[in-house]
């Protein structure tokens, strides 16, 4: 087997080139498809591209918008990465995010005290809300062996209904006002409870939540790579049986990873709530949970790589807001996102398959 390692460096070059070409080709196909879609529906390709550029990159304001959109995506992705390291697939961020935002709104609207304290409380409440929502499938899994994917997935739809319920009950979160004129949403948070914005419109301005997210990224990178916790988490993810033999408590560590993942998604909801939207709305998750998961995937579960990917996806989302001017439905952004995810996933999977085919056998000889 050691012979295999000495052989590797020689193999790397052509294979890497091949993979690179494959990436280029995949992205080209994805973008061509998106372009064809725009053209075939009678819209102008160049106008659409320009609108996307305007919305995401032209001038400080747009860049700020992109960063605002990227912030929750990155948080969700970080949580997903922690879970993935522990070998657990949490697919329910969309619901955890919504429940986080809801908990954040409850704290932000009803907690007494000075504005900054309520603001912090609201963010922590959001994290707790998301963690609790992820905690339900965690308990179901570690107590009764209910598949985590199924558990977290189904809880998304329960969350959506719970959110709708609380904003349609006047004694819960529904906004104040005339009986007939109320929308299914909460009151606006007080000005002092909102996360301060850094920078001035129309120049670059972003929510201060972005610093929370960057701090979280640094912490996760350090902890995953250098802490004993990160070590145990990796052990659990790679080989649960060996981890348990080495004294790792799977329930505590794995369940903890799921809770952290939920907390991050919840915190993302909290930042959307107090950073940009300002009130709780049942539709506010707006695919951020799902897309954050895809960010983690495209970044191949690496927290640092997740930053540019989140920025890219955030830029697309921001650009989508500008599409209306061209008459192109903003759904185009979802299509482009999905196509790009596929383009990002395909080459790696293909390369892996051809490597396996070549080997045609596990590394360990003789079973």
């Amino acid at each position: 087997m050691t012979a295999l390692t000495t052989r590797l460096p020689r193999m790397v070059k052509p294979a890497a080139l091949h993979t690179l070409l494959l990436y280029v080709a995949s992205f080209a196909v994805a973008l061509t498809l998106a372009g064809a879609l725009v053209t075939l529906t009678g819209k102008s390709m160049s106008e659409t591209a320009y609108a996307l550029y305007q919305g995401s990159l032209e001038g400080g304001g747009s860049i700020g918008l992109s960063i605002d959109e990227a912030t929750p995506l990155l948080l969700v992705a970080l949580g997903a990465i922690v879970c993935a390291r522990a070998g657990i697939f949490n697919i329910g961020q969309e619901g955890q995010l919504l429940m986080g935002a809801m908990a954040g709104a409850v704290v932000g609207l009803f907690m007494p005290g000075p504005g900054w304290m309520v603001m912090v409380g609201s963010l922590l409440g959001a994290a707790l809300g998301g963690a609790l929502w992820a905690g339900i499938p965690a308990v179901m899994y570690y107590w009764r062996g209910v598949n985590v994917v199924i558990g977290t997935l189904l809880m998304v739809f329960v969350a959506a209904q719970l959110a709708m319920y609380v904003v349609t009950q006047e004694n819960l979160l529904q906004e104040d006002g005339e009986a007939g004129a109320r929308s299914p949403q909460s009151n606006l948070l007080a000005e002092g409870v909102m996360l301060p914005r850094v920078g001035e419109y129309p120049d670059l301005n972003v929510t201060s939540g972005v610093f929370v997210v960057l701090a979280a990224t640094v912490a996760i990178v350090l902890l995953l790579r250098h802490s004993t916790w990160g070590f145990r988490l990796r052990m659990l993810g790679h080989n649960p049986a060996a981890a348990r033999r080495s004294g790792v408590r799977a329930t505590v560590l794995g369940g903890g990873a799921l809770l952290i993942s939920g907390a991050f998604a919840g915190m993302a909801g909290g930042i959307m709530l107090s950073g940009t939207i300002g009130r709780f709305q049942p539709g506010m998750a707006d695919n951020v949970g799902w897309e954050g998961l895809l960010v983690a995937l495209v970044a191949r579960n690496h927290p640092v790589a997740a930053i540019p990917v989140a920025l890219f996806f955030g830029g697309l989302r921001a650009g989508g807001g500008f599409l209306a001017s061209t008459g192109v439905p903003r759904y185009l952004v979802s299509v482009v996102t999905a196509l790009l995810v596929m383009a990002a996933v395909f080459p790696a999977a293909y390369a892996e398959l051809s490597k396996l085919r070549k080997r045609n056998k596990p590394v360990v000889v003789e079973g």
Partner: protein, 539 residues
């Protein structure tokens, strides 16, 4: 439709020409070569098997036996070479093609689907309609014909290992194969079950003129059950013998490639007879160990599996300091559960575990390790190490405290600890950062052993320590285990290979159905009695 064996893919010729005058060999492989990367699994192999014989394929683990047979059954394509069946050249691209040619294999690791019924499993891999009634009838018929009784309607997951083996055999024989291949079939069987198996094979060859290839690394088995034997070493055929014209010594020498000491021969190649002769010499050696401190005491342990099946039923044993207690038994009788118990993976319904006189709570993660129990698990790839992490990380797994400062790891300490252990335990690796997956099986085993011994254990549990290793690695393990005992560690050796136990153990206990059914010192060993106890008969 399915009452007929599925030889209906245009290969009726094979059956038809079988009885012609000057018989071509039933199977003839020439020039078979197969590489995996740079590893040559089979190198220009020639194998010739006559119809109606039981042909032994002998070799150590890694000699290329399994690969050769996978080529014959279509699971692996050879790089070059020729396969002739009854004198006609064939190309076996797929397991279904192999089945069509009348080749059928009983795999070392079962190929059964636990949640399906016996009859469903038996009909799996065939073609044509699924006819439930006739499939069930066939299970009974084939079972009756060969003395392999099993209820066709039971779910496979509810069967014992012996019964599963029968289902595997029925699954093969039901297709009425011309060539039956068995890969290490006895590792999960009792001695009695093994003998039954061999008599079935004998009947199949004598009365039905079928051909059997028996893959094994146990000399006794080969001598006892085969007509011809082909010996492989490092991917090549090194000798062919008529079984009647050879003996243990010669086979062992050919298989290993040099003269081996009697003791190594014992555990490496399964020469039971040589070991029993040695017992006389060992008699006077260990007499005075009654007085030693009890390091490990398991009392009346009862445990149940997740599927509510009992795993341990009142198991009790003690291991003294400086002693090697060999736990013999047929696989699946609670050895794995005992190993899990001592790795803190299993909770007890009843009973206690004491290490150095102190009770340890079973099932509490890390408790056994903290109390001083080191475990080298039998399935080291599965639960002994993490193949996707580095060598240094694998050496640190259970004792992160030693390589950490606070809750952060110190890369320097991790590295220096790894370097120390690598040289102390002779681990062949380019450096501490290499991925565990890249090491050979023997070195992986060394890593696990090094890690466990580095923690200064009071008790060392080694399960199947030499399974899957080559002779060099076996000698190394044997020596290390003996040294560990000499240094005062209490060693519990769990093994299904009687030879290994006779080589190493000072005292032998036999486990059957989750309890100890008998104990004897090395000096009192009587293989027949041991075998009967392993089979569950009071002796």
């Amino acid at each position: 439709m399915s009452t007929r064996p599925s030889t209906d893919n245009g290969d009726t010729a094979t059956a038809g020409t079988a009885a012609t005058a000057a018989p071509a060999p039933a199977v003839e492989l020439t020039g078979i070569t197969k590489r995996f990367g740079t590893v040559v699994a089979c190198d220009d192999v020639r194998l010739s098997v006559q119809r109606g014989e039981i042909h032994g394929l002998l070799g150590q683990n890694g000699a290329g036996k399994s690969t050769l047979m996978k080529i014959l059954t279509g699971l692996v394509r050879p790089d070059s070479g020729q396969i002739m069946i009854d004198g006609g050249e064939v190309s076996i691209s797929d397991p279904l093609v192999a089945a069509g040619l009348g080749i059928s294999m009983v795999h070392q690791h079962f190929s059964l689907i636990g949640r399906m019924r016996v009859w469903e499993n038996v009909t799996l891999g065939e073609r044509g309609h699924v006819d439930r009634a006739s499939a069930r009838r066939l299970v009974t018929e084939v079972g009756d014909r060969y003395g392999l009784a099993v209820d066709p309607d039971r779910a496979v997951e509810d069967l014992t290992t012996g019964e599963r083996q029968r289902v595997e055999l029925i699954k093969c024989l039901r297709r009425d194969p011309d060539l039956l291949i068995l890969d290490e079939p006895t590792s999960v069987l009792t001695l009695k079950e093994s003998h039954e198996l061999f008599s079935v094979l004998r009947r199949v060859t004598k009365e039905e003129n079928k051909t059997v290839i028996l893959i094994s690394h146990k000399l006794d088995e080969i001598l006892h059950a085969t007509d011809q034997v082909t010996i492989m070493r490092s991917g090549a055929v090194v000798a062919r013998r008529r079984t009647a014209d050879t003996d243990v010594r010669e086979l062992a020498r050919e298989m290993v490639g040099r003269e081996v000491s009697r003791l190594t021969a014992g555990s490496a190649v399964g020469a039971l007879d040589a070991l029993v002769e040695d017992i006389g010499a060992a008699k006077e050696a260990k007499e005075e160990d009654e007085e030693r401190e009890v390091r490990l005491r398991v009392t009346d342990a009862h445990a149940t599996g997740r599927d509510r099946r009992p795993l341990l039923r009142g198991l009790s044993l003690t291991v003294h300091a400086g002693e090697i207690l060999g736990l013999a038994g047929v696989e699946g009788n609670g050895q794995a559960a005992l190993g899990d118990l001592l790795s803190s993976l299993l909770e007890l319904d009843k009973g206690t575990v004491e290490v150095c006189g102190k009770a340890v709570r079973a099932g509490r993660p890390g408790a056994m390790h903290a109390a001083g129990v080191g475990v080298v698990p039998e399935d080291r790839h599965v639960s002994g190490c993490v193949l996707d992490m580095s060598l240094a990380e694998n050496l640190a797994m259970a004792d992160l405290g030693e390589v950490a400062r606070g809750s952060f790891l110190s890369p320097r300490r991790l590295r220096s600890r790894a370097e120390r252990l690598i040289s102390e335990f002779d681990i062949a690796a380019p450096g501490p950062d290499i991925q565990m997956r890249r090491l050979s099986g023997g070195n992986q085993q060394k890593v696990v052993l090094a890690r466990e011994l580095a923690a200064d254990p009071k008790v060392l549990v080694v399960a199947q320590p030499t399974r899957g290793l080559d002779v060099g690695a076996i000698e190394y393990m044997t020596e290390r285990i003996q040294k560990a005992a000499e240094s005062g560690i209490a060693v519990l050796l769990i093994s299904t290979e009687l030879e290994e136990i006779l080589t190493l153990a000072h005292r032998i206990a036999v486990i059957h159905r989750g309890a100890i059914v008998g104990e004897m010192t090395r000096a009192e060993v009587d293989v027949e009695r041991l075998g009967m106890m392993m089979g569950g008969q009071a002796a």
